[in-house]
Symmetry: C2
Subunit: 201 residues, 2 copies
């Protein structure tokens, strides 16, 4: 449907940008024309950053997080306690938690959650290495920071069942009202969790 | 504010994506992780499309549109009548009009509109070449398809004043209710234009 008189490389750029999530034709066009207006070195920097990231980044052999050197900066850091490990679904979750900056333990990235419908079973998750880490790093507590949706819950319960017998303390981050949230507009599940998770003041 | 334990090339990719219009940190992160999950050849294709577009595309010496060869496909086309020229603000407007596919004349891209506040005067617009084109291409009609905002209106009136003495028929695309628009929700300016531009049925 792209018009015949439009230059191929412009079309190609637009098509490529459209392949990104949440970017439709209109947005792709706006981005394409913006990129074409950029100074050449800026647009090259953008392209190079894509190449660099995709070529340099790998998964840490210990925690499975995205890293340039293996083991990653967090796994090889002396400053971070290795007795407490935070289990997350994806590297993006690590980024979010690191931004918070409050957690000073280490991480373990599952690279997914249990999802039978999508054919994702326990063996498809990065669990094997986690089991090995428990004795190796003398892990005392494992904090499950998995998203509170159906698959996430299932994964959390599966891991708890799997890890508890290994004599490790398994916890889960609190679920409840978000900061600035309003009781009126909170859904039932959130409210129920907020109540069951109530704490003494 | 980017956390210390996040790998530089990931940060760099996110920063670069954030430099694009309408893309904040959250979106940039989502895009970055999506790009990292892509097959390598796909992400390379994306990067190459940026490089290719920025290196290959130039402005047509005749109409000022983005093109790979000069003159552009439209200017050098035999199929398009050169007696009617559509004047637009930017190459993206040409793309929009070409999508419509109804216009079979040629184009002229101003690369901006008069905007004294931003210090954009008549000399900063691609008008000189347009004046040369009128005798050279025996242009009979010039359709002003400039966005109907304050700067656009000013530019349209300036061009009309400039072009009419040259014995060329100057028209402007109709302004009125958009397709599927609702009288109730149309602003006064649009309604006024819709009335003043009413046509016999």
């Amino acid at each position: 449907m792209t018009p015949s008189y439009v230059s191929p490389s412009l079309n190609h750029l637009i098509e490529e940008l459209m392949s990104l999530p949440g970017i439709g034709r209109k947005t792709a066009q706006r981005l394409a024309f913006y990129i074409l207006k950029m100074p050449k070195e800026r647009s090259e920097a953008l392209a190079e950053s894509i190449i660099n990231a995709t070529t340099r980044l790998q998964y840490c052999s210990i925690c499975g997080n995205l890293t340039e050197q293996d083991p990653c900066a967090i796994c090889s850091s002396e400053k971070r306690t290795s007795t407490i490990v935070c289990v997350v679904e994806s590297p993006s979750n690590v980024l979010a938690l690191e931004k918070m900056g409050a957690f000073r333990g280490k991480y373990h990235v599952l690279h997914g959650v249990l999802s039978p419908l999508d054919g994702v079973g326990p063996d498809d998750l990065n669990v094997e290495t986690l089991l090995k880490r428990i004795p190796a790093e003398k892990i005392e507590e494992i904090v499950l920071a998995i998203n509170p949706n159906v698959e996430g819950e299932a994964t959390a319960f599966y891991l708890a069942k799997l890890l508890k017998p290994l004599g490790v303390h398994v916890t889960r981050i609190a679920h409840g009202l978000p900061a600035g949230g309003d009781l009126e507009y909170a859904d039932e599940v959130t409210l129920t969790r907020a109540f069951s998770g109530r704490q003494a003041l």
